[in-house]
């Protein structure tokens, strides 16, 4: 079987910095985004005007934050399908808080939104780790439960932008050096979570769990606690997205955020996060989110029928999965041939 030749022939890849940069999982999605922007700009130069870029960033912000949160959960080989419902609950809560106490400092509103999101995420994480039922099933149930709560609470009630302080709405209008404030928030989130995942022990544990949960257990990693952490982080970020949603969009009500979860899953997968966990990065997920929202604007700018948009997103998801699959098949083949020659 394997002999010392296998050791000697161990590939010494990763030495060349350019080559290793090109092998990053974020490269395909980032390239796709660049190509998309260039093509659209050639066809319609207004696409990259100051206003055009600002619109692109604003549109992407909420999806980016949610993709970062859900990406963290997917890295552990779990999923949270209830994020659309969580966003809806938090957005409606934000409207309610402003209606009840119009003069409340905006910071408190953010804290309330983050707290609600964290609690809802913690409930999901707790159920997933205690019941040992696949998170797909648990959070599918929670999707309906949270949505039901939102329906019961809101009824026909809706809150509109006019019900909220002007300063709150300006968050998604004002810019610093041309970048909207809420986009800056999103970028900060991406950087913080990316550093957490890449450079801290608990962050790396999440990858280990997603890669092989049983091995992680044998290695003494506190699997349940870490998974709950990922769900809480996701809930918190979704809560943040919910507050920002209330700032950016005119109305919040019982159906806010319905169906959003699949867009977020799509963003994470297109961004290179493996759906079965263990690899990918939240930077990729964020780029995936930007790509998906940009496609919408791009198709409008190109004058393509809007109905094509969803089909194109579908093709992107399949492409992302295909790229992954081909890469792993090629890797397996390389391994087989190298073992055969060493046999």
């Amino acid at each position: 079987m394997t002999t010392s030749h296998a050791l000697a022939a161990a590939p010494t890849s990763g030495r060349n910095p350019v080559a290793s940069l090109l092998r990053q999982r974020e490269v395909p999605v980032a390239s796709a985004l660049v190509v998309l922007v260039i093509v659209t700009t050639i066809a319609n130069p207004l696409f990259v005007s100051a206003q055009g870029v600002k619109d692109l960033m604003l549109n992407a912000t909420i999806t980016v934050i949610m993709a970062v949160g859900l990406g963290t959960v997917i890295i552990t080989n779990n999923i949270d399908l209830s994020v659309g419902s969580i966003l809806g609950l938090v957005a409606f809560a934000t409207g309610t808080v402003f209606a009840a106490a119009p003069d409340i400092p905006i910071v408190f509103v953010f804290l309330i939104g983050l707290a609600i999101g964290a609690v809802l995420g913690a409930v999901n994480g707790f159920l997933v780790t205690v019941a040992r039922v696949p998170s797909l099933v648990i959070t599918l149930g929670m999707l309906y439960i949270y949505r039901g709560l939102n329906n019961a609470w809101a009824g026909g009630q809706q809150y509109f932008a006019g019900d909220r302080p002007a300063a709150f709405g300006r968050l998604s209008v004002d810019t610093v050096l041309g970048v909207p404030i809420i986009t800056i928030i999103a970028v900060v989130v991406v950087v913080l979570v990316a550093v957490f995942l890449a450079r801290t022990r608990p962050g790396r544990d999440l990858y280990a769990i997603g890669s092989d949960e049983e091995a992680a257990r044998l290695f003494g990693i506190a699997v349940s606690r870490r998974v709950v952490t990922a769900f809480v982080l996701n809930g918190t970020l979704t809560g943040l997205a919910g507050v920002l949603y209330a700032s950016r969009f005119n109305s919040v009500g019982a159906t806010t955020g319905t169906g959003l979860e699949l867009d977020i899953v799509a963003a994470a997968v297109v961004g290179g996060i493996a759906i079965f966990g263990g690899s990918g990065s939240v930077v990729g997920a964020a780029i995936g989110a930007v790509l998906l929202t940009t496609i919408t604007s791009s198709l409008t700018a190109l004058g393509v029928d809007k109905f094509w948009q969803q089909a194109i997103v579908g093709v992107l998801i399949l492409t992302a999965i295909l790229v992954e699959r081909i890469a792993s098949i090629r890797k397996a083949r390389r391994l087989r041939t190298s073992e055969a020659t060493n046999a």
Binding site: T12, T200, A215
Partner: protein, 538 residues
């Protein structure tokens, strides 16, 4: 180096870690009846025993994966139970499992340091240091593995090296190695032993599990023998011979358990010639005659199941031929195998032999769907009747034919699998580990059934890792070692010692060589079992 005996027999130091009479059951199955072992600082204790002797269960108790139901567990003289692997690790116990447990998506360096990566002052992981530390470890082990590559796609040997690097970097007080050498070649084994000796000399307590006697005698200071989930004996390595160890491992009353009936042996039903699959098994030839039970013995991983699967058409083979009742059998076509009269009772009945959530009757008639159906639809009534008939013949104990198979005991589940195949009226039946995980009482019933089948003229190939089962049941015993047939023994000549020697690839002559020099890269293939077992080692 094993030749110099341990001075004064038992060493005076108190054990770092000790199990006394540990018991562990899973449902009705007793995995460990009374496990005892003492690990002392600066000593390598080799744990030997047949498959199923309880070695791995004991490892898992020491590792904190399982908790003993009863018995004493002492660490540094104080009673302790590790409730989680983390607790065991925190106490300084490091385990290298039989199957490497790496994270395929993480880099090699991270696999070594996960959970305890070196960090900078701010608490962030210092990747440069992690990489450098990994490189230093590999330099010490003398292997050129790139710390930056992901673990996915590494050869088993490389994976095992990474596990070893991990254990070394932990500076473990207690190092447990559960068959670490199964996938390693001679050079790598020597390297591993060098590391193990260095750790021992620095005061670690080491437990080493292996089926290769040359390794056991070459490395250990002390040998602990287990059998049937219980501690049998402990020996200073220098004071004992291979023959004595083998006898302690297998010594048990074989004849009573297995009511072998004499059957008239007829014409060859199946002839296998030169069956080869690159890297898995080589040039395997044998025949099985009507009414004959042929036992296929060997260690786990010797390639026995792989041969059976290739024969039955589940897996491909590169060369050779299979003939059934005089006609060549198509490759890679299980349907053709069934039509030709072959039945296959797989090793893992829960995953491969039964649909656990379906009823007893459904499972029994799974192989019969075509004969039971009319116009493409399965008739429920005929299904029930056929199932009831077979269950009765095999005495399956179930409350109702409609209960899910999962509710039956292991032995009765196995009977359902047998019933399923018998219903196809086979002329040749392959049974892979027919009594694994079945309690002793039902075991003999399964044996009676198999023996009964042979009595009716069915040719049986029985793969089993349990020596007494093979010796008690088989008319002829084939032994495989590392993908090759190393011995064919008639019932009269088949003794536990002979089978064990052929299965471990160590005849007596080998053993002396191995203890004096580094083992060669590939083991010799002894075609005849050794006749002189005892004297060569002393």
């Amino acid at each position: 180096m094993s030749i110099d005996p341990t001075p004064g027999g038992l060493s005076p130091t108190a054990p770092v870690l000790e199990l006394r009479g540990a018991r562990k059951t899973f449902g009705a199955v007793v995995a460990l009846a009374s496990g005892s072992v003492q690990l002392r600082a600066g000593e390598i204790n080799a744990l030997v025993g047949e498959n199923g002797a309880g070695k791995s269960t004991m490892v898992k108790i020491l590792a904190g994966v399982h908790q003993p139901d009863s018995g004493e567990f002492l660490f540094d003289g104080h009673p302790i139970v590790f409730r989680t692997p983390a607790e065991s690790k925190a106490a300084g116990v490091s385990v290298i499992y039989q199957e490497p447990t790496l994270f395929p998506d993480l880099t090699v360096a991270e696999n070594i340091f996960v959970g305890r990566q070196p960090t900078s002052r701010l608490g962030f992981i210092d990747r440069a240091k992690m990489r450098a530390d990994a490189r230093a470890l590999f330099a010490r082990l003398g292997v050129p593995i790139d710390p930056d590559r992901v673990a996915e796609g590494l050869s088993i040997a490389d994976q095992q090296i990474i596990e070893i690097a991990k254990a070394i970097s932990l500076d473990a007080k207690v190092l447990i190695m559960d068959e670490p050498t199964a996938a390693l070649s001679g050079v790598e084994v020597e390297r591993l032993f060098g590391v193990a000796r260095a750790l021992r000399d620095r005061g670690s307590a080491i437990m080493f599990i292996s089926h290769r006697f040359d390794e056991v005698f070459g490395l250990s200071d002390r040998i602990t023998v287990m059998r049937d989930g219980a501690f049998i004996s402990e020996h200073a390595t220098g004071d004992v011979t291979t023959a004595e160890i083998v006898r302690a491992m297998v010594g048990r009353d074989v004849d009573q358990l297995f009511p072998k009936q004499e059957a008239r042996i007829g014409e060859p039903v199946v002839t296998v010639e030169g069956l080869t699959r690159q890297g898995v098994f080589h040039d395997v030839s044998f025949e099985v005659r009507a009414g004959e039970i042929v036992g296929l013995a060997g260690l786990v991983g010797a390639g026995r199941t792989e041969v059976a699967r290739a024969l039955f058409g589940i897996d491909r083979y590169d060369a050779g031929s299979v003939t059934v009742n005089g006609k060549p059998l198509a490759r890679r076509d299980p349907m053709a195998a069934i039509t030709a009269g072959i039945g296959f009772v797989p090793e893992d009945r829960r995953k491969q032999g039964l649909v656990m959530d379906m009823s007893v009757s459904r499972n029994t008639t799974l192989t019969l769907r075509r004969t039971l159906s009319r116009f493409g639809l399965v008739s429920a009534r005929r299904e029930r009747e056929a199932a009831a008939d077979w269950s009765q013949r095999l005495q399956v104990k179930t409350g109702s034919q409609e209960l899910a198979v999962a509710t039956l005991s292991g032995g009765n589940q196995q009977k359902v699998v047998l019933a399923k195949w018998l219903a196809t009226d086979p002329t040749f039946l392959i049974v892979d580990e027919p009594t694994r995980g079945i309690d002793v009482g039902t075991k003999s019933e399964v044996h009676r059934l198999i023996s009964d089948l042979a009595g009716r003229g069915i040719a049986v190939l029985m793969i089993s890792s349990e020596l007494p089962e093979v010796l008690g049941m088989a008319d002829r015993v084939l032994v495989m070692h590392e993908g090759r047939l190393t011995a064919t023994l008639d019932r009269a000549d088949a003794t536990a010692e002979r089978v064990m020697h052929a299965a471990t690839g160590s005849d007596a002559a080998d053993l002396t060589e191995a203890t004096q020099a580094a083992p060669a890269a590939s083991p010799t293939n002894p075609t005849t079992p050794p006749t002189a077992t005892a004297e060569a080692t002393r």
